[in-house]
Symmetry: C2
Subunit: 333 residues, 2 copies
């Protein structure tokens, strides 16, 4: 049995990730700790798997951001922070794209010689994670996860944010809500729906199922869903939750064209806190998450995973926050 | 002297690019033409430089989209169309980024083994084009060009669009304009300024230099520039041109906060026709260009250039169009 990084960690009295970082000379580890780790590794005769791989297969120090849904411009927000964090860790970022479950993508990643992958937008049923695992390519889920393979993941926890939003809405007199939910095929839409329904129920707001729609995560879909909601004969609820800000922008556009006052007639809440949500002419109540920090953590996780594939997968949860703005007002009476 | 693709083109009675396309089995060329070209090539004993390079240096069929200004999210709009067009031509897209004139970027492109580069946002004085030329890496300028090296380029021609905008503004009674111009270090800002000034003068609208500012191409810069304009004591002109839509959105935000009516007090015109410009709550008059088609042409030009480096550089100009919307109204009296 070869010596593992965990044994080095125990002897050095540090965590396993610190061992990986120390041995690749990561600037986040102090010189003193690096020295302790190096001595422990030498004492145990530890050989980094990374070093072996460098000799046998040639590390490229390139990491792919794999986007499986190019129309969803969510990934744009994370390119810059992932790129910068990887650069400080001595890695280069390359953007790879596939159209829905393209058979060839994993082969192309292999031939492009990437050391690891940040997987940004897989549908829940995607087979890409299975193929990456089968080819031994380390990867980390960013925001969306897939049920097929466990791996390191950086995700948003929306519970507290929806709870605050529902509490605030209840205080403003809202008793009944509609929703434009995201595609069931995405883990983010599923998690947000569960969290939203729980929060609304907790605060005495009923979900009116006649006013629940599903839409892809873009503003055109939001416009159409809102048209469909407004076309219903029944009385529209006073409150509408949207799968993300793009969908909410679309809903606001339709409301504006139809002369439906927001928040006078219907209050609207988004998700993401895109820059336009803050524009005074939009002023969208929404749920914010620190995607930049999530992106940096994803960069760190994939580098750690490349260095040492043995530890169990890590799941890093980021708690979202409700941001109250003008589109949430008192319930129409 | 080896036989060139131009001689093959003459014998086959087709253009040189058609020869390149036919010999790489591009689907845009008919089977009949491919046959004619193959016969002409065989008759002359023509050997494709591509074939030689594949054997000697190993083509990767990877093309980099090089973004030198990651904060400018303009490049986002072209990722999908460049990616798709390259895929149909048998090439993969990889996104590479650099912070302003990073010394190492060209070396990284060499080590990543890209066959060519689409250069999206170089400042005019960038040395990256010189380094690419010196290392023999084919590249094409997208939208912005640099004065240092001539190369294939896909650019926007704004003259007709600004002429129409100025004519329309003059008809609405505007006689004096201000402007938030882009950075002098970009070829796009320079070209737009020249074109705008010429158009305004032609239609009897004076540029009031007290109300001219420069800003980077983002909405924060637009907000600040508009604050600075509104802080002037002198009477603000009735018309304001903005370097791009993001700058215009920022200016609209500041106007909204300051209670300055658009277009009642000041009309605003952007550039780019971003999706949000069409939102009814924004309704921004702007200048549109078919960036998707430009992106596809850039993909074609770089593949042609990789196949044959001998022809002189091509410059493809796309004519922009004025899009009249709600933020352009009659001049305040």
């Amino acid at each position: 049995m070869p010596v593992t990084s965990h044994e080095v960690a125990r002897l050095a009295g540090v965590s396993q990730p610190t061992v990986s970082r120390a041995l690749r000379d990561d600037p986040r580890v102090s010189e003193r700790t690096k020295q302790v780790v190096r001595e422990a590794a030498a004492q145990l005769g530890y050989v980094r798997s990374e070093a072996g791989r460098t000799l046998s297969s040639g590390r490229t120090r390139r990491i792919a951001l794999l986007v499986t849904d190019l129309e969803n411009q969510f990934y744009v927000r994370i390119i810059a922070p992932v790129h910068r964090r990887l650069a400080t860790l001595g890695y280069q970022l390359t953007l790879q794209t596939e159209s829905s479950d393209d058979e060839g993508i994993v082969e192309r990643l292999v031939s492009a010689g990437v050391d690891g992958v940040v997987l940004a937008t897989p549908p829940v049923e995607s087979v890409t994670p299975i193929r990456l695992r089968d080819r031994g390519i380390p990867f980390v889920y960013f925001n969306r996860t897939s049920s097929s393979v466990e791996a390191d993941a950086v995700v948003v926890t929306p519970d507290a944010a929806y709870d605050t939003a529902a509490q605030r809405a209840a205080a403003l007199g809202h008793r009944r809500a509609g929703a434009i939910l995201g595609p069931v095929a995405t883990s983010t839409a599923r998690a947000r729906e569960t969290s939203l329904r729980h929060a609304l129920t907790s605060h005495g707001i009923a979900v009116d199922e006649r006013f629940v729609r599903r839409a892809t995560f873009d503003s055109d879909a939001g416009e159409e869903a809102m048209q469909s909601l407004l076309a219903e004969n029944a009385e529209m609820p006073s409150l509408l939750f949207c799968a993300n800000d793009l969908v909410a922008f679309g809903a606001l556009n339709t409301a504006h064209r139809a002369g439906v006052a927001v928040p006078g007639r219907v209050s609207v809440v988004g998700f993401d806190d895109l820059p336009a949500a803050r524009w005074p002419v939009i002023d969208l109540a929404t749920i914010a998450c620190d995607y930049e920090e999530m992106a940096r953590v994803a960069a760190e996780l994939i580098v750690e995973r490349i260095d040492d594939f043995t530890p169990p997968p890590q799941r890093r949860e980021f708690v979202a926050q409700f941001v109250e703005r003008g589109t949430l007002g008192p319930a129409a009476v």
